[in-house]
């Protein structure tokens, strides 16, 4: 039997110290040992039974229940004041076999893998690598759980791929304690697995595009995500360059994404006609407090996999132009993390020298990110075409109403089909600012909440449609925020949730974040 330990913790905090938040209980469920229960399926179903037992307990007490993985979100999305469940020990993995495929599927069985919710990106990548496969894209690092990634829309920065949820093609949800509350959900227009597979995991099948798309970035509100079916691809390599380029060229590329006709190219990264190749990933780093004629950009190109390439990890470890917070803390360390000194340095310094080139797999390129101390991150999603204008506005905001101890970056990702995807535009520019948490009163500065609120107000005032990253800092209580960002899609999402859950189970899977954003609303 899977065993659960109960901890009356009182307070819970995110990995990046964005809390603490009042929390009564944390549960940790460990799977039954392989020796006692050798069959993968038995252990998976045993764990489902245990989670459903915990759901029943919470329901009986009329309390909430929420699973979480690594706690990397900086918003309070993962938090539940009554019961939180730490999922990381539930990490079963399975390659899908041909006889588990739906007869009308267009997917290749060798590309499909089923992962229990507590698997983190790094262990998924390792498992796929052993099968000659790779994830299609990840975030800037590898410690998030797969359920956390899709529930909050972790996006990475792959121009032609999309966010993590975009290669998820089936979800196993536990939506309550009853026999009918184990659900396998996939799109009706893109079948993946057959009913026999669902029966094996004791799930009833729902094939419905609207419900699947709503549950995909489900914010933990569509039930307990127990398993995820994802589509991988053959292993590949990424070649990474960090360069300084003319600011106007960098911003022009941000707006039109027309890399093939750009007057800027990297030697060796051209096609047979000498035209620049389209990168896998494009990122711009910006210090908002300095007028610099050049911006630092990161370009990554996809290459076929080969065995013999130099180990990139020693370079990755030293590289500072990776995760934005890594870059910022490397700057902050020079000032011993003193906020006034950091601000002073930002006002006079350009960004550090660029990193050297490297080649590695996706998992190596977006490798471990160490704990960086208390940190904040705000990310707005805008149409790439609007990105130069939005950047200018937010730079002015940071200069005129700040300063805040952080720097900006822009990344670009293909549109998602998920109803509440942060990556909502045909190509979404993630305009993000990362930095160290500061004490506004002590330093006589604008507060983080104030800065987040002003970011929203500035974008609305300038009629720039936007979204906000669900897992990052924002003024989540801003009136009418979700309706403004998603319009009718916010209503569709709530209606799909109301269709799947009862009023009682909707309350079970709600939390303060859903209440603050108005997304806990239930339609009878």
């Amino acid at each position: 039997m899977a065993t659960t330990t109960k901890h009356e913790i009182g307070k819970w905090d995110t990995f990046h110290n964005n809390g603490p938040f009042e929390t009564r209980v944390m549960y940790k469920t460990h799977l039954e040992g392989k020796g006692n229960m050798p069959n993968w399926l038995d252990r998976y179903n045993d764990a489902a039974k245990e989670i459903q037992r915990l759901l029943q307990e919470a329901l009986d007490k009329k309390e909430g229940f929420r699973g979480y993985g690594s706690g990397w979100s900086m918003s309070h999305i993962a938090h539940q004041k009554h019961n939180m469940h730490f999922n990381a020990f539930m990490n079963l993995k399975k390659a899908i076999s041909f006889d588990e495929m739906h007869t009308s599927t267009n997917y290749k069985h060798e590309n499909l893998f089923f992962f229990q919710s507590g698997n983190v990106i790094k262990e998924i990548s390792n498992f796929l690598f052993d099968h000659g496969k790779s994830l299609k894209a990840t975030g800037a690092s590898n410690g998030q759980s797969i359920a956390g990634c899709i529930s909050t829309g972790v996006h990475g920065s792959a121009l032609n791929v999309g966010a993590v949820q975009d290669y998820v093609i089936g979800i196993n949800l536990l939506i309550g304690p009853g026999i009918n509350d184990n659900v396998y959900l996939e799109r009706d227009t893109k079948h993946a697995l057959n009913n026999a597979f669902a029966e094996k995991i004791n799930a009833r099948v729902i094939r419905n595009d609207a419900m699947f798309n709503a549950a995909l970035v489900g914010l933990g509100a569509f039930g307990f995500v127990h398993g995820v079916l994802l589509e991988a691809e053959d292993r590949f390599l990424l070649k990474r360059y960090v360069k300084r380029v003319d600011k106007n060229t960098a911003l022009q590329l941000a707006a039109n994404m027309d890399f093939e006709n750009a007057d800027f190219h990297i030697p060796g990264e051209t096609d047979a006609n000498g035209k620049p190749n389209r990168p896998f990933h494009y990122k711009i780093f910006i210090n908002p407090y300095v007028e610099d004629a050049e911006y630092v950009i990161e370009l990554i190109f996809k290459k076929p996999y080969q065995v013999n390439y130099p180990d990139p990890i020693p370079i990755i470890k030293k590289a500072i132009y990776r995760d934005l917070i890594v870059l910022f803390t490397s700057i902050a360390e020079r000032c011993k993390r003193s906020i006034p000194k950091i601000i002073k340095l930002l006002h006079k310094s350009i960004l550090p020298p660029v990193d050297i080139e490297l080649t590695g797999t996706l998992a190596e390129t977006f490798w471990d990110a160490p704990y960086q101390g208390p940190a904040f991150a705000c990310a707005v999603g805008i149409d790439a075409a609007n990105s130069p204008k939005a950047l200018q506005l937010l730079i002015q905001l940071a200069r005129n109403e700040g300063p805040v101890p952080g720097i900006y970056a822009m990344r670009f990702v293909k549109k998602s089909e998920a109803t509440l995807a942060f990556t909502r535009f045909s190509i979404t520019c993630m305009l993000e600012i990362d930095g160290l948490i500061w004490n506004a009163k002590n330093n006589k500065m604008i507060s983080l909440t104030g800065f987040c609120k002003r970011t929203i107000e500035v974008l609305i005032a300038n009629q720039i449609p936007f979204t906000l990253h669900w897992g990052k800092n924002a003024d989540w209580s801003f009136p009418g925020l979700v309706q403004h960002m998603y319009g009718n899609d916010a209503t569709i999402w709530k209606k799909q949730r109301s269709k799947l859950l009862t009023k009682e189970t909707a309350a079970l899977f709600s939390n303060g974040f859903l209440d603050d954003t108005g997304l806990s609303e239930y339609f009878d």
Partner: protein, 119 residues
């Protein structure tokens, strides 16, 4: 010949010697497994590398007999999974202890994280 130093100079020289003796003798080295995933611990809120990781600490003194050669310190918690990271620390006290006991007493201070169990 007896050299008599002014008091301040003597203190400075003594501090310098002490510093030069202690600083190189105090260090730590952390070895990490590149592809491994650490065993998690949501209760570990330490503000450093070990945050969120189940961390084992071993701080002991081992005693060797006169004819003992190699010494193996056996640790159990990682079972057959292996180490995600392993850090050993050498401090001045440990160096002194080893020196004055001719290596027969050794201070061992290690901190390690196991690899997450995988299925």
């Amino acid at each position: 010949m007896l050299i008599v130093l002014p008091c301040k100079k003597a203190i400075f020289l003594l501090s310098l010697l002490l510093y030069l003796g202690i600083v190189p003798a105090c260090y730590s080295v952390r070895v990490m497994n590149k592809d491994a995933v650490p065993e998690p611990d949501p209760m570990n809120t330490s503000p450093d590398f070990y945050r969120g990781k189940l961390t084992h600490v071993l701080d002991t003194v081992i005693g060797l007999k006169l004819l003992d050669g190699d010494f193996h310190l056996i640790v159990k918690p990682c079972s057959s999974r292996g180490f995600y990271s392993f850090e050993y620390k050498v401090d001045f006290g440990g160096v002194m202890l080893s020196a004055i006991t001719f290596g027969k007493k050794r201070k061992v201070k290690i901190k390690y994280v196991c690899i997450k169990e995988t299925d």
